[in-house]
Symmetry: C2
Subunit: 334 residues, 2 copies
Amino acid sequence: MHVIAVDAMGGDNAPQAIVEGVNQALAEFKDIEIQLYGDEAKIKNYLTANERVSIVHTDEKINSDDEPVKAIRKKKKASMVLGAQAVKEKAADAVISAGNTGALLAAGLFVVGRIKGVERPGLMSTMPSFTGQPFDMLDLGANAENTANHLHQYAILGSFYAKNVRGIATPRVGLLNNGTEKTKGDSLRKEAFELLSKEASINFIGNVEAREIMSGAADVVVADGFTGNAVLKAIEGTGLGTMKTLKSAIMNGGLKAKLGAFLLKDRLKGMKETMDYSSAGGAVLFGLKAPVVKCHGSSDAKAVYYTIKQVRKMLDTKVVEQLVDAFDPKEEVN
Amino acid sequence: MHVIAVDAMGGDNAPQAIVEGVNQALAEFKDIEIQLYGDEAKIKNYLTANERVSIVHTDEKINSDDEPVKAIRKKKKASMVLGAQAVKEKAADAVISAGNTGALLAAGLFVVGRIKGVERPGLMSTMPSFTGQPFDMLDLGANAENTANHLHQYAILGSFYAKNVRGIATPRVGLLNNGTEKTKGDSLRKEAFELLSKEASINFIGNVEAREIMSGAADVVVADGFTGNAVLKAIEGTGLGTMKTLKSAIMNGGLKAKLGAFLLKDRLKGMKETMDYSSAGGAVLFGLKAPVVKCHGSSDAKAVYYTIKQVRKMLDTKVVEQLVDAFDPKEEVN
């Protein structure tokens, strides 16, 4: 039985979307048990599952504008913090929240804790591509600054994830750089390139450019947290902006445009589904002693369900335990 | 009279697109004179203008896969190098090429030369936004590594450009960062934020995120070359990929989808025009003693025409001379 702690109070649609996602997941997966942290009365309004589920009541919660580190230190009874605490005390195997990202990162680092040997856990998401074949990218912004050694570790972390959770036998690992030639980049990239080239446990395919990552250039894309965050946001901003512009072009285009859009509806929907990656689950703060996963703040019940499914897969495949072994200093060849 | 040196042999559609663009520009602007560098016989195939134009024949040219610095050192008679040389010798006021970007940057730095006081010229483009109001961004990758002082200079450079060439009275200058709060970012960003906050000659509006830059967050976006390059490529990859996916959804969607697309044609075209920024001209290696401007490698005659128009505006407004004054150490307050 996998025990998953869920922060019922985090995100724009909490607790309804969270609890409904939990209902769905409990109905489908018989090998999971859910602990819901939050306002008991409010949770009960939506909870239909009655097996393998418990509520841990608390009035306290972390708000989206709370200062992350301060919040997890001061609000010891917040739903998110109690969930992380349960993982620390081995009462739960993993924790999920759709709340304040920074606070969840802080709870992950300071409450759940790093795997021994992992210097700086990275935030990793499975991102969509135009080819229909998603890719994992990290660090997406857990760190503002990274060293080449961190990037080296991200390559190993991402490769483990793609292999275990996404079932890719030999994930192609690429280093995000400003050109594909091996001599490209700043000193950080040059140093990281050397380290990745020598790393026998991964399939390093060299540098990849931000223009190509959404067209299947690699299965795992390694970036420092600053650049990874900027690229993620550039992709989001461009994608959302394009869709919004298309929509307003249709809405302001009169009857002809509306009829055209109606005829194209199925195709646009199919396109949207290709680009929708909520089925891949949430963003993992990877390199911690247990899965700590962030659902998007605007998650609906489906997205919560998929994140639970993702966490279950992480627990099933024991990807974290494998990482603990891989990073154990005793195992190091050097 | 503004004398503009044009590399007739650079880019995918050279020399035809280049020469046709020159024909258009010469017909419209009576105050410019063009020097075309390249294969005289081939140029003459397309040249219809016969006033204020001259051809400087050379057999040599820089290829797209030539190693930039080596190429400009070894191929002294290459069309691009001769154009830059003409600027150095004051025989021309500016140089334009659609050829090898790295080689043009090298020719700019080593042949034309930096403005005294500008440490690292930056590559700057006027980029489209969903609001229809474009923005200037630099450095887009002339440098793999930058210091806070370089970013400080980019803010001044970009502001001068937006003011003079784009006619924005008080350009809003934003620092590309991983959050909008002033405490965000790595040490480079924090240091740059301090410098920009104290810079009286610009209208610094604080940090901007990559998600918002295409929605009108700032008129000038300041980035280090590595991040700027990655964000530019992420925007390009997402934009092109979305359009390609939309196209193939329509093409494979049968008669219904094709009819829908037909009805939407005008609207999609309008949208494409909003996002098309070739009318803003090429990418300027800004901070040099004269305008050195890169047209996109795939430029058609229209894009070449617009780049000549842009360079003419730069010469008309004397933006480079103003920069020379602004960066003159004698003028510094400190």
